[in-house]
Amino acid sequence: MKNLALISVLLASFTLIGGCKSKPPEAPPAPAPASTADTSGVDNAGATAGDTDATMGPSGELLSKRVVYFDFDRADIRADSQTVVAAHAAYLSKNPGQKVRLEGHADERGSREYNIGLGERRGQAVRRALALSGVTEAQLSTVSYGEERPAAAGSDEQAYALNRRVEIVYLK
């Protein structure tokens, strides 16, 4: 019976989160920042994974919340996250020079590249919500890490719930 429930949740969620019609990919992005990976076989001493830190961006009760969580196999923004997204939308509308990167994530279940797709859907959902509230496209970019960068370790629902998320990252 558990499986039936799971499958019906799957089916319901996929009908809910259909995307929009696609267009061909765009030209390659601007030149990359220096690579942090190495093929020398030597440890990459001093390399860090972030170009931002938590102190970047606005403060305040809602604005300091930078993570939007999602239900299993869903990409719609839950009611409990609407106010957080709205607060960021208002701030970004007032500060059109400020850019954010929306980092989409999935929990670890299922196929890795398919989960990259699910993370992207979540990032795009937050992007659309911000854009509808007046944030310009130039302020927004998305990246999906799928299940590759979990926030929490573990293979239980508690960890999964923390890992299904979009992180709003304020850029310098």
């Binding site: 799957l10 765009e26 990359a32 190495d38 093929t39 020398s40 797709g117 990032g123």
Partner: protein
């Protein structure tokens, strides 16, 4: 036509250093009546053989196939090193069907010669005598080649022990993890690091000649696809377009990659990238997620994952055809990450089976689906080049481990890492 910009990565002189840590192989189940075989310790060539126990490598290879049961050395009454010295009647009493004997010898030019002889105990006949001449550094590979030859002589199918696997290793606790890409022998030994990064590395894929690896790296914080020459470490970024650059796999002629691009609007579709020219051809155009393409062995089409029907299923399209992709999987609500067998007759995939993510085989002629694995959270199946085994990622005590299973489901083995977790194994081609 827009020419793709090829950016040369940090090409280092020393591409890869062998690590001391190894994967450890454990056979977890085998056939009910494995063939008894005695692999007698070979005559050594000290110090040229570097202390390698050639007979042990051969025995472990044969046992890992699940088709053989090697005799314990403590049970061996005799230790011949040539077929002429094998007392068949004596071995017959010890209930073994075959005896393997051999010698490692140092040649005047610095190379090493490895001789093996296979004796059928029932007839007393020496039935086979393969030998290889190699540089000392390649002695282990030569031992795998002996195992390949013995396996083929007895079973009738080419062995795939002298092949390599690539896999991703992850160490550290979230959110600070360290990602590495490794290549190792098919038994997990001889591990060599290809790439290390504080940001995710995923989806490694072998070129058909085994010289190159394509992979996805987030080292620029966003995804990009690289191809890297295995020996020199020379690395070329071949796709860094807006949005997702994912799921690369090589065409059978090695000239193209199938890959997944999303553009900035986030819609994943399958494309073909010609490596020499950078020419890009779109293969799918659907608002759903289309990803994880893999070429058919003849290169005429690709199988891929798509959730265009509402949940992920496998589809097939013919390159250059205007026909809509055909759905291939109909059993269960989740089928993803297809891989095609070398003979093109079987599809390995990830399926949701009774609430667990498991590896299954679908027979493409009659549609029969067989679930091969028993875990809760498995992924990334990849065929051995002889089509007899699959390697995939599973979990053991919460850590990612590599597992192998024979296509008949009877034999399975596990490759544990000494630290961190290992995942996304891909089996390389036969070596020349």
């Amino acid at each position: 036509m827009r020419k793709l910009k090829f950016c040369l990565g940090l090409a280092a002189l020393v591409a890869a250093v062998p690590a001391f840590a190894q994967l450890r192989l454990t056979i977890t189940s085998g056939v009910t009546d494995p063939i008894p075989i005695a692999v007698v310790p070979f005559a050594r060539a000290v110090p040229a053989d570097g202390g390698l126990d050639v007979a042990q490598v051969i025995q472990r290879d044969l046992e890992s196939s699940g088709r053989f049961k090697g005799m314990a050395r403590t049970d061996m009454v005799f230790t011949p090193t040539t077929a002429a010295e094998v007392d068949a009647a004596g071995w017959k009493q010890q209930r073994t069907d075959y005896v393997v004997v051999g010698r490692v010898s140092a040649l005047a030019d610095g190379q090493i010669r490895i001789d093996a002889e296979l004796v059928n105990v029932l007839t007393g006949q020496r039935i086979f005598g393969p030998y290889f001449i190699v540089q000392p550094a390649n002695l282990r590979n030569a031992a795998h080649r002996v195992a390949d030859a013995l396996y083929e002589k007895i079973i009738g199918v080419r062995g795939a022990f002298a092949t390599r696997i690539a896999y991703v290793s992850v160490d550290g606790k979230p959110p600070t993890q360290r990602y590495e890409l490794y290549v190792a022998d098919s038994d997990g030994a001889n591990r060599t690091r290809i790439l290390a990064s504080p940001l995710p590395i995923m989806s490694p894929a072998w070129s058909p000649d085994g010289e190159w690896l394509a992979y996805v790296s987030f080292e620029r914080r966003v995804s990009a696809i690289f191809v890297q020459h295995r020996r020199s470490g020379k690395k070329t970024m071949v796709s860094a377009r807006a949005g997702i650059n994912g799921a690369p796999t090589y065409s059978p002629d090695g000239k193209k990659l199938a890959l997944t691009l999303s553009g900035s609007n986030g819609n994943l579709d399958i494309y073909l990238l010609e490596l020499a020219s950078g020419q890009l051809t779109r293969l799918t155009d659907d608002p759903g997620i289309d990803t994880e393409a893999v070429f058919t062995p003849d290169g005429s089409g690709v199988y891929f994952t798509s959730d265009r029907s509402g949940n992920p299923q496998i589809y097939r399209l013919t390159i250059g055809s205007t026909e809509r992709p055909k759905r291939v999987t109909f059993t269960g609500g989740y089928n993803a990450r297809p891989r095609i067998s070398p003979d093109g007759k079987q599809l390995a995939l990830l399926t949701l089976d009774n609430g667990a993510y498991r590896i299954a085989l679908q027979d493409l002629t009659n549609g029969t689906v067989t679930v091969l694995s028993k875990g809760r959270q498995e992924e990334s199946p990849s065929f051995a080049p002889n089509g007899a085994m699959l390697i995939f990622a599973g979990r053991e005590r919460g850590q990612g481990v590599l597992q192998t299973v024979s296509v008949d489901g009877q034999t399975s083995a596990r490759l544990d890492a000494d630290a961190g977790e290992v995942r996304e194994p891909v089996w390389g081609p036969f070596l020349p």
